[in-house]
């Protein structure tokens, strides 16, 4: 933690963001002997100051800077200033993620080939595949100690899972279990097993859930090769006359601006801030923003097809007790166009406390139809739907010049319209989710609309050809060889699975590549 690099040191790699992408990359590079300065927009929080309180935690760790929304998605109506529910701080959104750690299915790397032409969708095959990623997935699963992989046992099922599992089995679903979770199913040397506390989204106070913030960053810092500069928000990436990037302008906690020189810059600010930074870095040489010769920066924003199903019963469930998301039905994750849509979805247990349930069950609703549901809170079970959404060029993060942030820079606008395939899939999932609960005697079921996006993907997509995307198969920008993208914005398509494991696997792979290219003198 003590290392400090000179701002004029142009030999360091600057990583922007310390979440599951940037945090893992920074730590991995440091462990390979590469000098890294990680710029983190937020502060440092951890198990010692996380709080078991939904709104207090939201205020403590969320990214709350001004953002706007447009498009026909319901989030734009319900939460117009909050398109995404993500974290600002060391560890990024791995602080509040649920821990679900699933590999892509093989076909999900090649959706253009497998799904064929889908009107209005900009499907594209990834330039990598399941075989390429297999060893990196294994490394990621080891790093995250993912349950039900590498011989690790699953978590025990809580009450919410028991209802979910019973309904799923009655319905004939086969692939039902307590998930592959980056949550310890036993004690390890440094970290304890899950204590079934709940509040996974508020940061795990036991440190039993993997976070880049307290599992990866300290390992990197201990090498003496990693300096994490907190409260340091990147504003602009600079380049020289040859087009190579040379450093990053950032603002410190007092708003004072600095330049950190860099040999390589890796952008990992999440799929809203990463394209925003590239767009805000426009120059006379790159008038449309950095790495944007394709015009694809900010486009193909994906957020997963999501929704929730809650149900009330005539007996208590107490769904808030225990691990928030340790339960999954995978039978619908397959690609089976006979259901009326391409791609698939996962059903995963989920619970919210009363404060968030009031805000999210049916935003805007009031009166007895709504309150009589909350009155049954103790008897309520819940699940989340997460499925592959269609990439669309018009779904995009762009700059809102009408609203400036605290540094005077244009804020991001997030535009999203559901694709007909997303809507068909969501309706199918609502029906199946309700059927799961009806099978075990639900009194009422509630098809709950999407929350602000937790899975923000795809705004700097990976592509084989430079004209189709922003980065190549290494996450290196097609246009600028010492500029990389290291977060979920690389995603070519979204797949049905929660994205963090894939983001981590890509970061591990990218760290190998960058270290190797540096040692060869190629960058």
């Amino acid at each position: 933690m003590s290392v400090s690099f000179d701002k004029k040191d142009g030999n360091v790699v600057v990583v922007i963001g310390t979440g599951p992408g940037g945090g893992v990359l920074a730590s991995e590079l440091a462990q390979k002997g590469v000098k890294v300065v990680a710029l983190e927009a937020g502060g440092r929080h951890g198990p010692e100051d996380f709080v078991n309180d939904e709104w207090a935690s939201f205020g403590q760790i969320s990214w709350l800077d001004s953002r706007s929304t447009s498009g026909s998605w319901r989030v734009a109506k319900d939460f117009s200033g909050l398109p995404a529910w993500i974290v600002k701080g060391v560890g990024g959104s791995s602080q509040h993620w649920a821990g679900a750690s699933l590999r892509f299915q093989e076909h999900e790397w090649k959706t253009q080939t497998v799904y064929g032409n889908v009107t209005g969708a900009s499907l594209l095959d990834w330039p990598i595949d399941a075989k390429t990623m297999d060893p990196y997935y294994t490394k990621a699963e080891e790093k995250l100690r993912v349950t039900r992989t590498g011989g690790r046992k699953g978590l025990p099922g809580n009450n919410n899972y028991k209802v979910f599992e019973a309904g799923a089995k009655k319905l004939g679903y086969k692939d039902v279990h307590t998930g592959r979770m980056a949550i310890n199913s036993k004690d390890y040397d440094d970290f304890v097993a899950c204590q079934q506390t709940g509040f996974c989204f508020q940061g795990c106070k036991w440190g039993a859930k993997w976070s880049a913030g307290y599992n990866e960053i300290p390992v990197g810092e201990a090498t003496g090769n990693l300096e994490v500069r907190i409260n340091s928000q990147a504003l602009k990436i600079e380049h020289d006359a040859s087009g190579k990037v040379t450093g990053v302008i950032y603002a410190d906690a007092d708003g004072k601006q600095h330049v950190q020189k860099a040999r390589i810059v890796c952008v990992a600010g999440n799929s809203i801030e990463s394209p925003r930074l590239l767009l805000n870095s426009a120059s006379s040489m790159f008038p449309d923003g950095l790495a944007n010769s394709s015009g694809q920066v900010g486009r193909n924003y994906m957020r997963h097809m999501t929704g929730s199903v809650y149900a009330t019963f005539d007996k208590p469930v107490k769904m808030w007790r225990g691990t928030t998301m340790a339960g999954i039905i995978q039978d619908e994750a397959r690609h089976d166009p006979s259901r009326g849509f391409v791609g698939g979805y996962e059903l995963e247990t989920l619970s919210l406390g009363i404060p968030f349930m009031a805000a999210f069950l049916d935003p805007g609703a009031w009166g007895r139809e709504f309150t009589s549901a909350l009155d049954q809170y103790e008897n309520m079970a819940g699940m989340w739907i997460v499925g592959e959404d269609m990439p669309q060029e018009t779904n995009r993060v762009s700059l809102n010049y009408d609203v400036k942030d605290q540094f005077g820079l244009p804020t991001p606008n997030v535009h999203f319209d559901d694709h007909p395939n997303d809507i068909a899939m969501r309706n199918h999932a609502y029906k199946q989710g309700a059927a799961v609960y009806d099978a075990v005697g639900a009194v009422r079921t509630f098809p709950t609309p999407p929350y602000p996006s937790t899975h923000n993907l795809g705004t700097n997509r990976m592509s084989d050809k430079a004209r189709d995307g922003v980065v190549n198969k290494w996450g290196q920008t097609h246009d600028i060889k010492n500029l990389f993208v290291s977060d979920g914005s690389q995603f070519t398509t979204g797949a049905a699975e929660n994205p963090t494991l894939t983001i981590v696997a890509l970061a591990i792979r990218q760290a190998e590549r960058i270290a190797s290219e540096m040692s060869k003198g190629n960058i």
Binding site: Q196, T197, R321, A359, W366
Partner: protein
């Protein structure tokens, strides 16, 4: 909540007029008719605060939650800054009530009739402000969580690993 001290039921009945609901409106305060609690009102008219409390209950009616908690959820509007828009909003609410033949919103006896009045102004910024504010104002009061069975913070108790995370028997 800022309670009026030493108020007896007798005092209440002497000095105030009962509202249509179970609230008692006095000079500078609103109270429960059984004197269980009272809320000082500084900037708003007492009748406005009482109407606001009833409106809050009609928006998010929970029969097991006492008025006291609805009062706590809206007491933050009793400020110099909020006074103008809130008095105006409540006046509009009362105008909608009188337009339907009721003496006032509070004097509208049936919830369904009050809800009809609220529906008629559902899209107004005033209604949306009050409704939106209640989401945290009402449901984030730790004191109401037990009504829903919600147990809140659990880390200090060691989580639920030994306290029933998987204790249901009916499935």
């Amino acid at each position: 909540m800022s309670y009026v001290k030493s108020l007896t039921r007798r005092d209440l009945l002497k000095t105030s007029v009962a509202a249509g609901s179970l609230l008692v409106i006095g000079g500078g305060f609103v109270a429960a008719s059984n004197a269980a609690w009272a809320l000082e009102v500084t900037h708003l008219k007492s009748s406005t605060m009482a109407t606001l409390i009833q409106m809050a209950r009609d928006i998010y009616p929970h029969d097991n939650i006492a008025d006291e908690f609805y009062a706590a959820a809206v007491k933050g509007y009793d400020t110099a800054e909020s006074k103008g828009p809130v008095e105006e909003g409540i006046a509009a609410l009362n105008a909608a009530a009188t337009g339907r033949g009721h003496a006032s919103y509070l004097a509208t006896g049936w919830e369904r009739d009050r809800v009809d009045i609220l529906r008629s102004m559902e899209s107004s910024p005033f209604f949306q402000q009050i409704r939106g504010g209640l989401i945290t104002g009402l449901y984030n009061q730790k004191a109401v969580w037990p009504v829903f069975g919600y147990e809140g913070e659990s880390f200090s108790k060691g989580g639920y690993i030994d306290r029933g995370f998987n204790d249901i028997k009916w499935v």
